[in-house]
């Protein structure tokens, strides 16, 4: 298993290098001059030229890239044009926020999506299946920003149950932190729950048709044992894949949800950074997200082997 993980990490390195090259060049292809944004209403040519030099924007792009890589290897991801804050510090500030939102959203999604999927597969063609499908489809189709605003109006303005938006660090006040994060996590979670439900349903349907399930039933096993222990466990492999990919996506930041609920996570940071042509910040976050994705994939591969030992080392 260790050798397998080691091999996977080695394969990941060129991927990360490729990602960083892509982002670096794509950003510079974007129209718009970061220095004009940075200078604001001051247009003194001397100041513009100084800033251009300072951020090395006069150098050819390959040189700029190598300089960035050199610093990055020493743990320096540069500083934000917009606020002068070191990018690494910014990422350190935002990572716990995004992590908390992603985890809460995923828990909500799994609690809703997986049982609903199992149930609708088991009761295929009955009204339960229909209801589950309709609910799942609406969860998938309702836009996050709309649901978010509606929930704020209902839960915060009308009922006054939860704070309308904002963020409270978990370490400072865990209860308040969960309360402020509950609505955004729910909004995100419902959309993901729908995806999970659909995948669980189809995986379960194909497993439920297999011979060993018939055998298990013929043996006289209790129905819930057949369903949970025999069917679901085998159906889990594709669900794990989908879940880890979704989690990776969530780590990249939930742009719309964060915007609506004013959660200071990666999504909001990256949007502001792109609009301000804050190259160093975009680059830093994308690198982080890339690493997160690779890590989640690795986790999925490990999980397969735990769930299904037959997949063993090959």
């Amino acid at each position: 298993m260790l050798a397998f993980i080691g091999r996977r990490i080695l394969i990941a390195i060129p991927t990360i290098i490729l990602i960083s090259i892509f982002v670096f060049t794509l950003q510079h292809l974007l129209p718009g001059d970061p220095i004009l944004v940075l200078a604001g209403e001051e247009r003194d040519p001397e100041v513009l030229e100084f800033l251009r030099e300072k951020y090395r924007l006069n150098d050819p792009i390959p040189i700029q890239y190598l300089a960035w890589v050199g610093n990055a290897l020493q743990g320096d991801l540069g500083i934000s044009f917009r606020t002068n804050q070191p990018v690494l510090e910014l990422i350190g500030e935002k990572l716990p926020v995004t992590l908390q939102l992603a985890t809460m959203a995923l828990i909500i999604a799994m609690v809703i999506g997986i049982p609903a999927g199992v149930l609708s597969a088991y009761k295929k063609g009955t009204w339960i299946d229909w209801v589950a499908n309709v609910v799942a489809l609406s969860g998938l189709s309702v836009p996050n920003f709309w649901l978010g605003i509606m929930m704020i109006l209902l839960v915060s303005v009308k009922l006054g149950w939860l704070p309308a938006s904002g963020y409270q660090p978990f370490a400072e006040d865990p209860l308040q932190s969960i309360k402020t994060m509950l609505m955004p996590a729910f909004v995100l979670g419902t959309a993901i729950a729908a995806t999970l439900m659909r995948h669980t349903r189809s995986a379960m349907l194909s497993v439920l048709k297999s011979d060993y399930i018939r055998t298990a039933r013929a043996k006289g096993l209790a129905e819930h044992v057949v369903l949970i222990k025999h069917a679901l466990r085998n159906a889990l492999v594709p669900i794990v894949t989908v879940t880890t990919l979704i989690f990776g996506e969530l780590l990249a930041g939930a742009v719309l949800t964060e915007q609506i609920f004013t959660i200071p996570g990666f999504g909001k940071l990256v949007v502001d950074a792109v609009f301000n042509r804050d190259y160093a910040v975009v680059q830093g976050i994308v690198l982080c997200t890339g690493v997160a994705f690779i890590f989640m994939n690795l986790l999925a591969d490990v999980a397969y082997r735990v769930l299904n030992p037959r997949m063993g080392d090959k």
Binding site: G32, G166, P264, L269
Partner: protein, 503 residues
Amino acid sequence: MLKPRHIALALAFGLAATAVQAQDMRIGLQEDPDVLDPDQSRTFVGRIVYASMCDKLVDITPGLEIIPQLATGWEWSDDGLTLTMTLREGVTFHDGTAFNAEAVAANIDRSQNLPESRRKSELSSITGVEVVDEYAISFSLDAPDATLLAQFADRSGMMLSPTAFGEAGIDFGLKPVCSGPFSFVERIQQDRIVLERFDDYWNADAINVDSVTFLPIPDTTVRLANLRAGDLNMLERLAATDVASVQGDDGLTMEQAVSLGYQGITINVGNGAGADNPLGQDARIRQALSLAIDRNVINQVVFEGAFAPGNQPFPPTSPWYNDAYPVPERDVEAARALLAEAGFADGINITVQVANNPVQQQMMQVVQAMASEAGINIELQAKEFATLLADQSAGEYQASQVGWSGRVDPDGNIHQFMTTGGGINDSGYSNPEVDRLLNEARTSTDTEVRVASYNAARDILIEDLPIIYLYHVTWIWALDDAVQGFVPYPDGMIRLEGVTINE
């Protein structure tokens, strides 16, 4: 019989009733400010934070008169080349450093000479600073500069602790130290900026809240929902479309002030090859476009009547507005006639770039519809703002819908846009007579001379139309009705002197 438990309860209640709760003023902002260093920052929203944190040499009244803040008095020499200021005594910065003439000199030096400074052009007229005594300082200028006091009423006049910027250098913005009513506590980007009451503030009696928390909430609906839910005490830049709903809410109040800035269509008349087209070359077509637009309709349709229609760089409420040219009525016939005269009786196609946000696009769609009735077919090019700005500066555009946040002194709204080679003259306009008049207005401290110069320049500009002005934004604040004493200012700032929150 009174049990000990009851006594304890009664005591607890009594304590709760007498204890003064620390009051936090929570203000919703439309954007997250950039770096919190007045010498390096560039956003409007950043200035709202400074208004609570950094005192300036002078301040303004809601009527735009200059009044003392850190400078208690000032005097111009007869030739207008020296400004001498008397400074307030007994003022300290948040870190305990004393405020005096040396500190002012160090601040002006930083604004002028820090390579990253964005204040250089604002202070370019100052050639020398002399510390007269501990509380008096004089500035020598290369030419008389009527705008200087107004610059001192904004970021160029903000006094930072020399000890703090001596240590932090360009990183000052990570932990700013000024001398205003509130001192910096913490900032979490895109989440909050927290300031706390500065007990040694020279005007501490006017400050009634213990702390201020600024929360950037970009979505206007969500910002208002936060106010309604009680998570905010007030917010800035209420959307015009929400005005009616706030007015109908008993728990909220609203304040407003017409801004100092403008929104309009900048036309490329001489900035590179982009000017090489009939719109850029023939003023009659620009006049036709201006005549085709009903500015009242824009205001009613897009902004629910909350903003102020305009046709000059200063709003009609400004003392600098030229009454000889009132906001024109729409005249489609006259517009068609002008087009025909210019040789486009069958209509003309033009391209206008606009920022890709919904409000500006709606506004330009209204303009597009009105212009087409006069035979001017506008193709709208929606661009993301950074791109729009770059293209405009490079002259790669025909016409561009942009605005200006506005300055206290009229010079800031016109000089750098209309003079030859001006810093933000993106239309590439050049007219020696306009240059002369605007320079004259800049270097005279006599208000009458200045008004006459601006009016004479308007006579020319209203014909040439390098910028077609459309409207002036109105700053709208929504407040919880417990918040009292807030005074709206046309600069859009939030001054917390005298503001209270009733429990």
